[in-house]
């Protein structure tokens, strides 16, 4: 098994660090799935009780300058590793502090398997360059357990909206979290989004208007949409989710000023998607709760 990835661009490095930081805020153990064309970080829902299902997908050919990998064999061309994202974030932290010549990430075997992070810092005269090497211990996941880390099957969202500013939404959900354990997301094809919480003490409803509707998916076979189904006026969907989970995801995000889209599948789940740049996407699925 082999894995080696190199980054030269400062901006990309910083984004990579931010993605890892976001993961480290959500969980103590995340799984990295290395395949020929993609690098996927997965946080399994069961690994920590409050975190939602989150995964980050990085397209190797677009993102990395050099990317080589060799799987177990031709048939199973993947590598699955488990590690603590906080360790990786700490080894990458130097990126945020100044200019870096390159970042190399390698899979090595030093008595036990490690992800070796090799960072070079330039010096003023370009002679005494500094080299920082960190070894992040990882656990190899045996092939029989791979099935547990398969990409989740995501049903197509009936409506996908561009979300209002992230800072705003984070605050809103953070406050509602103290009032109510669950919230309802409601969206329609007119670009209206309502976030509603109801308790015996208070009813709080936030209404956004004029949001961009990114996608509408008419599901003709579906009957469970009931009276809220495809009407001539347009379509609307709603989903009740756990407030804490949503808040955990939003407050973990280390990436600001980015456009987030939110897809809703009627009574099933909401999925949030952050496209950090072409080739790097962060997904989050928050399942519906029953009342």
């Amino acid at each position: 098994m082999k894995f080696r990835a190199v980054l030269h661009d400062q901006q990309l490095m910083r984004e990579f660090l931010n993605a890892v930081l976001t993961l480290s805020k959500l969980t103590k153990e995340c799984v990295m799935n290395i395949s020929a064309d993609k690098l996927i970080f997965i946080i399994n829902e069961e690994s920590s009780s409050s975190a939602p299902l989150v995964w980050a997908e990085i397209k190797s050919n677009i993102y990395f300058d050099t990317y080589t990998m060799e799987g177990v064999d031709a048939e199973h061309a993947n590598i699955y590793l488990a590690f603590n994202p906080a360790n990786l974030a700490r080894s990458l932290a130097v990126i945020s502090r100044g200019s870096v010549t390159y970042v190399k990430i390698k899979l090595t075997n030093k008595q036990f398997p490690c992800l070796t992070v090799d960072i070079q810092l330039p010096s003023a005269n370009n002679v005494q360059n500094r080299q920082i090497v960190h070894d992040v211990p990882v656990d190899m996941i045996p092939r029989r357990d791979w099935g547990a880390y398969k990409m989740p099957h995501v049903p197509e969202s009936q409506i996908v909206l561009t979300m209002p500013s992230l800072r705003f939404l984070r605050n809103l959900i953070d406050k509602i979290k103290n009032l109510s354990p669950s919230i309802t997301f409601y969206a329609n094809t007119n670009g209206e989004l309502s976030i509603v919480a109801e308790t015996d003490q208070a009813t709080v409803a936030s209404h956004y208007r004029n949001l961009e509707v990114k996608k509408v998916h008419y599901d003709e076979n579906s009957e469970n949409c009931g009276n809220r189904a495809n009407t001539e006026k347009g379509m609307e969907v709603a989903c009740l989710v756990d407030c804490k989970k949503t808040a955990v995801f939003l407050s973990a995000l280390q990436i600001n000023n980015l456009v987030m889209s939110c897809g809703i599948v009627q009574d099933h789940l909401i999925q949030m998607e952050l496209e950090i740049r072409l080739g790097m996407v962060l997904h989050c699925i928050i399942p519906a709760v029953c009342v």
Binding site: P164, S165, F168, N171, L172, K175, I176, N178, L179, T184, Y186, S194, V196, E198, D200, Q201, A202, T203, V204, A205, S206, H207, Y208, R209, N210, R228, E236, A238
Partner: protein, 291 residues
Amino acid sequence: MHNSKILYHKGLLRNWKMLTQSQYSQIKFVAKLENIKGFFGSLKAINFDETGTFQISDSGVRVIVENSKFVQASVYVTKECFSEYHVPPDETIQFYVNLNVVTECLGIFSGVECSMKMIYKGAGCPLVLVLEHHGEDDVVTECSIKTKNHEEPLDYSLDEDGPSYNAIIIRGPDLANIFNEIDRTAEELEFLLSPKEPFFRITTIGVIQSETQVEVAKTSDMITTFRCKETTSMRYKMSHIKLAFKALLLSSKVAIRTDSSGLLGLQLIIQSDDEAQIYIEFFITPLVNYD
């Protein structure tokens, strides 16, 4: 709650009572604040108990919080602060709410400037707050907060014509500084007001009889008005005085008043940019039987 009523018909909200009071043809109280910052800050400063009483009259809105009859704090917002203000003449509206819920709701846009409309229809109806943010996002938040029948708050008053009625007005930031310097771990605190030296003295008495004293001369810059006829000295529990600290940080001027009964009245004028002013008033009962 006209935006939220739609959601009721879609089955997303269940508590119809919180959304409408169709049995009342007329709204009793409507008021609009263009910027909630001052009101929100003051309310947070006195939110040391869960329940608060709203007293709405012709001249303004008062929110009263009590701590087991030892301390009473109230925020008073004059009618002039509101851009719109309607109450039936010669009538005082009173109701009880969970103040934690109110502050949580007001904080939903935390930090961002927003306007607030308050609506109350009558006994048994919820207090409706409509928060509107004016900015890039077109967003309205409607909060409907359950109210309860009021329990008459205690009426504290000082004997202003009595011979031992003393009052001084001191600059808020300076008084806050004094309180920052004194021993906050002390058990008791003594206020002394006198027409002769030491004029104004704050003494703290700690558990092992440790003492700190701060004296402010009558001629000090921080005192703007000094009206003392007789020496009064009374002790208060530090934990009671502490409840006023948060409010003190917001104030521009503080009137310290006391009379022969020893009841301490603190009147704070909250700093604000415009003419309209918000007041916070504290009444703190003294400790009895000390030698």
